[in-house]
Symmetry: C2
Subunit: 240 residues, 2 copies
DNA sequence: GCAACTTTGTTCCTGCGTTCACAAGCGGCT
DNA sequence: AGCCGCTTGTGAACGCAGGAACAAAGTTGC
């Protein structure tokens, strides 16, 4: 699960072009974006709300409402111009500029993220790596040398890091978070199982793998607890 | 972001003990659980809703309502017995039994998950690893040899895997998913940026790192787009 | 050029989830 | 033993998000 730590709202900054965008809509827009780019690669130039909604796994009415937040860029009777739509969504999501990412905690997960190609491809270049382990400092991971966590404020400020990713053990998370904030980082993605305390102007998103598994466990328990006879799987593979 | 793929509901299975638990509440319960176990380790035997809510980062009223779903195990005027509460939450989440986990796709992320100690510690032992790469098959990762994806149905059925974790590239995700379902897996955690098609009785949760970053990017854009003077950070570090 | 069909954009409405607020209940103190 | 204060549990209100339905708009075919 990912919890938007505090249930804050996407209040419209005064009278800016677009009105307040619901948090859930922002997440879906990112999904539409991926579907759209994928379709464009396949040469699709136009899509109806029905098609796009199907591919993204949402209701078509919801999709149209989401798209109305970015503006009215569809053509009635035809659909949406995929290229134009991508352009406008990217603008709304602030993806026109690149966001420099710093990864803190080069353990298993940190390693994976540092090497993960999906980030730079989507406009999120990883420009800094940090760890406390002196043996790791200086070692290049994914082509980038690891710096010591003590240098976080200075390095983040210098390289204009906008997003910090925390992959440290739980006890170190708050400390690291404070360092990132001191370095001017205002957006944090937290993989540590801790609720971080941050100033109001800092946005934290938490990804908690254990919680995800526990939620799945809950559904599993619910299902087997029901009156389903023990050895009778419902319908084998009825994938659409 | 993590999207519960289809907005299904936690309908109460007829007249079972606990009523329908809202999806969001299930996620929070998992968080309470972690906070509680951590507090127990520190010797705390009793907590008020206010304390626990603060540690979990939620409203105390929300917390009390969440706990009311598991039953009334608090003492008025005192608070909750931490040990008893943990016990009951674990029961509700189905954590009394162990859930065998299979990881598919031993790339960077899969590697990290296979080595991640947090899973077995919390009752989610990783019992199977899969990949298409012939060179990887047989190689032990985190003490467990990798099997070929073709053997997913057989191996999952044999080892009674209840949760499948998909860390493959996007194009392979649906295929792998079908194999897992064929192997009797009914709970899937999907890291691939794809909306999976599954039978009704299969629960899918998606964790999309790129989407998480894009949501953060959105907030960043909103903030800097506002009328904040360029070089004026609000209040440096006013962490509570 | 007109009409009919298609698809968007929006309005309304329903329903869930969160919060507030209060009554019930339990322990400690005198 | 009785009272007081604290904390739980829940009933009610509020607010947001999602879904259905409709009107506006534009295109295509004739």
């Amino acid at each position: 699960m990912t919890v938007h730590q505090h249930g804050r709202y996407t209040t419209s900054v005064d009278d800016l072009p677009s009105r307040a965008v619901p948090e859930a809509a922002v997440g879906r827009l990112a999904v539409y974006l991926r579907v759209l780019t994928s379709m464009i690669e396949q040469g699709v130039t136009t899509m109806s709300s029905e098609e796009l909604a199907g591919a993204a796994g949402v209701n078509s009415a919801t999709l149209r409402k989401d798209l109305s937040y970015v503006g009215s860029y569809g053509t009635r009777g035809v659909g949406y111009d995929t290229a134009k739509l991508v352009e406008h969504i990217e603008q709304l999501l602030g993806l026109t500029r690149h966001h420099s990412v710093a990864v803190v905690g080069i353990g298993n997960l940190g390693h994976a993220l540092a090497n993960y190609g999906g980030f730079p491809d989507r406009g999120f270049p990883v420009t800094a790596l940090f760890d406390v382990d002196e043996d790791l400092v200086g070692v290049p991971v994914g082509g980038l040398p690891v710096d010591h966590v003590d240098t976080i404020p200075a390095v983040c400020a210098e390289r204009e890091v906008t997003i910090g990713v925390i992959c440290t053990p739980a006890p170190a998370a708050q400390w690291v978070c404070d360092l990132l904030v001191a370095g001017g980082v205002r957006c944090i993605l937290n993989f540590a199982p801790v609720v971080l305390q941050v100033p109001n102007d800092v946005e934290v998103r938490r990804v908690d793998l254990a919680v995800e598994l526990q939620i799945l466990s809950f559904y599993q328990a619910r299902r087997s607890q029901g009156r389903q006879p023990v050895g009778a799987p419902a319908d084998p593979i009825a994938v659409v």
